[in-house]
């Protein structure tokens, strides 16, 4: 049912019409969607009143199931049921095989893309993730009475590298979502708490999810959330605690090798046992598999003993992050707990002990990230024009280039505030060298082999010079989503090369577009119509944006300039009505965008000036 909007008496709904924006927590184990309704952020439930969607995708002969139904099949049809697929995003087949020994899947690799073989053919982690996102998108759309969603904020673990972020964004695009921003999960959690309590100071966010661990140190002052440092472990989470119990079960039942269904059973029993131990001192686990029947008893003490090394590992990362932030443990005002795994009593105890503070758990640790993302999405679509809130995030892992001898030259160190642009000069190694191959790396180690190779590209057409005479300026740019683009230029000749870094084992733009097409069951005309509609929405957005800017700052243009710009706006308004192809309308939008470039630049300079004038006025 559509919700009718009623404006306050004397106030029209336009021009600040409420736009539909959602926040999605695409989790390893569970995923959620939230939105801000009547000023309050809420997670949205499905028809069965369930808020959490298990991040499980089951491929069957007849179709695709996502969530609880898929999960039910996990033990029965393990090969075709993709569980915790987020762990595989942005990774190669080799990465996954070396990291996870016990997977019940058939893995394959084709043209550099890693796939899981299912009964529906090869499925890559981006496609599987997009199925989860699609399900959440539909859930939100249903709750809005079928209205279109303007945009979404999708959360990612803070330490996700470029390949994993790109993979997440591709999955969202594949699901037909307009991504307003990729937001780090801990930052989202801090937003959810920060706006609630309104206090200022240093906040530590301890986020132990199903498959990943993150620690972030943030400072909140004057409405600005500044991430000071992040750290963590991309492959440490609740699943690892389960794995310890699986090992223990195997030991107790004297099993060395398990077939896929038995392994699946052991894993779900381990998980249930771990959860029960948060409430009880002792749990009896019944294991019935392959004609065998065992009962294994697990005490809280035993579990704590098994878990201690893992918890300690997280605290080591905490210490490093505190140090990177340039603060001490005592300066931490609050500790926010995020992720279902922080329900384990041993985790709460140890973290409380480490920071010498009782951790905050008042918002459901499973929902807090989605709630923060929804708050941010609401602001980003422009529903709260007076909002003072701003998030300043950092680059989680250093970015660099490979140099001679397999060494890494860091261009942007980790924990640098983004967006950021940094350049460094390199030179040729041999006399008469006319090309240079650049390998982009991400990671903290000194050796190339220990870092993640993000992309390779080459700069060709360097004029032959003596070794060391050419000056190659390499520029790294990271946007607010944490996504990287790299350009290289030979300074004396201006020869250039540029790439949007698409990870070696991710998908190219063309591949994403193709998958998008394949996934739509429309005929070509429907596709055209849909794209035209999208461009019409975009045209309207651009027209409204420029008109709004004109209302605010017409004085920055002289009469002639104003007349020209207004004529261009009128042109697009007409084109929007008459254009028959998306390409034509797109060209028109670009034209208006170009025509407004001077105005945009002046407005930017003007806001910079005003920002600081405003400040000195405040101080008087």
């Amino acid at each position: 049912m559509a919700l009718l909007q009623i404006a306050e008496p004397g106030q029209s709904a336009a021009p600040h019409q409420h736009k539909l924006a959602i926040g999605i927590d695409l989790g390893t184990t569970n995923s959620l969607v939230a939105t801000v309704l009547s000023g309050e952020a809420k997670t949205l439930a499905d028809q069965n009143n369930q808020v959490m969607l298990p991040s499980v995708v089951h491929y069957t002969q007849n179709g695709i199931e996502v969530g609880a139904n898929a999960f039910k099949n996990a033990a029965l049809d393990a090969e075709n049921t993709l569980v915790s697929v987020k762990r595989f995003l942005g990774k190669s087949k080799a990465d996954i095989e070396s990291e996870y020994a016990q997977l019940p899947y058939k893995l394959s690799e084709k043209n550099g893309i890693f796939n899981i073989e299912t009964c529906q053919g090869p499925i890559n982690p981006i496609q599987a993730s997009s199925e989860i996102l699609k399900t959440l998108k539909n859930r939100a759309q249903d709750s809005f009475g079928g209205d279109d969603i303007t945009g979404a904020v999708i959360t990612v673990p803070a330490h996700f590298d470029d390949a994993q972020r790109q993979g997440t964004k591709d999955a969202a695009e594949l699901a037909g979502l307009n991504v307003l921003r990729l937001l780090n999960e801990p930052t989202a959690a801090a937003v959810a708490y920060g706006l609630d309590s309104g206090q200022e100071g240093i906040i530590a966010v301890y986020d132990l999810g199903g498959g990943t661990f993150d620690i972030s140190i943030l400072r909140l002052s004057q409405g600005v959330f500044e991430v000071l440092a992040t750290g963590g472990d991309a492959s440490l989470g609740g699943d690892d605690f389960d794995a310890l119990l699986v090992e223990y079960f195997k030991q107790q039942t004297t099993q060395n090798e398990l077939d896929a269904p038995s392994l699946r059973l052991f894993m779900s029993k381990a998980k249930a046992c771990k959860e029960a131990l948060s409430l009880y001192k002792k749990v009896k686990v019944v294991l019935e598999f392959a004609d065998q029947n065992h009962t294994v008893e697990v005490t809280k003490e035993l579990f704590n003993e098994l878990a201690a090394p893992l918890v300690k590992k997280t605290l080591r990362a905490c210490r490093r992050a505190v140090k990177d932030a340039g603060i001490t443990n005592e300066e931490v005002l609050e500790v926010v707990m995020v992720g279902g795994s922080t329900r384990m009593p041993i985790v709460r105890e140890q973290v409380g002990h480490f920071f010498e503070k009782l951790p905050l758990t008042s918002i459901d640790p499973d929902q807090v990230v989605a709630i923060g993302a929804a708050i941010q999405a609401d602001i980003l679509v422009g529903n709260k024009p007076d909002s003072d809130m701003l998030l300043l995030d950092v680059l989680p892992l250093s970015l660099g280039l490979e140099t001679m001898g397999g060494l890494v030259e860091k261009i942007i160190p980790r924990n640098t505030t983004i967006p950021v642009a940094r350049a460094q000069e390199f030179t040729t190694f041999k006399d008469g060298q006319t090309a240079m191959s650049l390998s982009v790396l991400q990671g903290e180690r000194e050796l190339v082999d220990d870092c993640r190779a993000l992309a390779k590209f080459s700069l060709k057409g360097i004029p032959p010079m003596a070794a060391g005479a050419a000056h190659i300026l390499v520029t790294f740019k990271v946007d607010a989503d944490g996504l990287l683009s790299v350009s290289a230029m030979e300074k004396s000749t201006g020869v250039q090369a540029e790439i949007q870094v698409k990870p070696s084992f991710g998908l190219s733009d063309d591949q994403v577009a193709q998958m998008l097409k394949d996934s739509m069951s429309f005929a070509k005309e429907d596709m055209q119509a849909r794209m035209l509609k999208e461009q019409q929405v975009e045209a309207l957005r651009v027209i409204e944006a420029i008109n709004a800017s004109l209302t605010e700052a017409k004085n920055l243009l002289n009469e002639t300039e104003l007349a020209i710009l207004e004529a261009e706006i009128d042109k697009l308004i007409q084109l929007r009505e008459t254009a028959t192809t998306p390409e034509k309308l797109k060209a028109g939008i670009t034209e208006l965008d170009n025509a407004s470039s001077d105005f945009a630049a002046r407005r930017m300079d003007d806001s910079i000036k005003k920002a600081l004038t405003g400040q000195s006025v405040d101080q008087v």
């Binding site: 945009g151 307003l180 921003r181 002052s221 004057q222 409405g223 600005v224 500044e226 080591r316 210490r319 602001i379 980003l380 679509v381 422009g382 003072d388 701003l390 998030l391 300043l392 640098t416 505030t417 983004i418 967006p419 950021v420 642009a421 940094r422 000069e425 740019k477 946007d479 607010a480 957005r541 651009v542 944006a545 420029i546 800017s549 208006l592 965008d593 170009n594 407004s596 470039s597 945009a600 630049a601 407005r603 930017m604 806001s607 910079i608 005003k610 920002a611 600081l612 405003g614 400040q615 000195s616």
Partner: protein
Amino acid sequence: MKYFELFSLPINYNIDLALLNQAYLQLQKAVHPDKFAHKTSREQLLAVQKSAEINDALHVLKHPLKRAEYMLAERGIDIRAEQQTLQDPMFLMQQMELREELEDISLANDPEEAVEAFDKEIKTLEKDFHQQLTALIEQTELIQLERAADIVRKLKFIYKLRDELERVEDALFDD
């Protein structure tokens, strides 16, 4: 000195970090890409550029060494990409001694005490160089600025020692 102007701060090596940070937050509130998420792509692009520029300016002004290098570069002495070695045997000798001392820390009877003593030692040196630098960097004569550049080169050694001390500390006290 456009970085100082950007933050509306007086050109001064002894910068007011609280004011710098306040101006920084005000500027980011005005230009951060998030403030342009529903604007035209032109404005979004500009916002990313400006925001990155402001981040870079903060990065340079916040760090004493980078700030000094920037100020010297603006005054015509760019030592940011140089490979030049320092011509000061006395100083280099002292550095070698300090390095040996650093290496011996892990062997000391009480490593924690040794770390603290060493930390104190380099802090004293650092303070001394900063004072000299403050006096020299405001000068306009080339010879004074060259001397300031030499101090910056020496400070780089000190900062490197500090980083290495941290590494030693990590190795000693992690776990």
